[in-house]
Subunit: 148 residues, 2 copies
């Protein structure tokens, strides 16, 4: 048996599976997982329609749940994997959490945090973009194409 | 009996009372209320320590609760009163909610959304700042002075 490869690719696949869950609920398909010391401590997908709540983005739910798992509100030693570049709200929340690392899939030209100056993220947070970019982006495109 | 004056001042006083609740719990004293058609439909104060959750800002809790009260996630016809200029996270959430109007008390030079370009708020949201500015700001100053 092959050894499981605990790389960014592996964890992004988990976030991607969360995004597919969202898609099945007719939610904008974005998924996220938070990893601490090689273990997934929280997983979530966008639930804004289901919960009737604009704040229920995958990242927000994953942050809240990770803090609960750790028993503390700071996520310095954690990595968030998310299928789409975080929006302003989520980037702001990630800043407050002082998360150690963010790995995202597809770019969000319209709503992504990267449009903003100065960067809304914490200066100490390491950022990696473009992991499984095509698959993550396709999910969102597919969702919005189906809405037209 | 004097008629109650349902002005910005009145509703900000309600938000201020929420901020005082936060102070009594040793939370950063920020309070918020959401008003729809002259009625307060949600009220909240910062609970980040109590809930061990960086996302539990007064505005976030007030938005979630207002959406629940209205049975819909958009707050176009609502006004949020908040004692402190919203941070990036809260401004992002308020954008998603398409809230009609935001009235805030004190400026937050360090964490307020106004530092950001382009503005993270929704282009249609009307903004009023400086209502009960001194009282709202004093609460926060008092809190942090007590921490040193």
């Amino acid at each position: 048996m092959d050894k499981i490869d605990f790389t960014d690719q592996y964890f992004m696949k988990q976030a991607y599976m969360e995004a597919r869950e969202a898609l099945m609920k007719d939610e904008v398909p974005v998924g996220a997982v938070v990893v601490s010391e090689g273990t997934i401590i929280s997983r979530a997908h966008n639930l804004t329609e289901t919960l009737n709540d604009v704040t229920a983005h995958a990242e927000m739910l994953a942050i809240t749940s990770a803090s609960e798992a750790l028993g503390g509100k700071y996520l310095n030693n954690c990595t968030l994997y998310v299928t789409l570049e975080p929006c302003t709200m989520c980037a702001g929340a990630l800043n407050w959490s002082q998360i150690g690392r963010i790995v995202y899939g597809a770019v969000d030209e319209k709503r992504g945090y990267k449009r903003l100056t100065p960067s809304p993220l914490h200066p100490k947070t390491e950022i990696v973009g473009g992991i499984m970019e095509k698959e993550c982006g396709e999910l969102v495109k597919q969702f919005f194409a189906g809405k037209r």
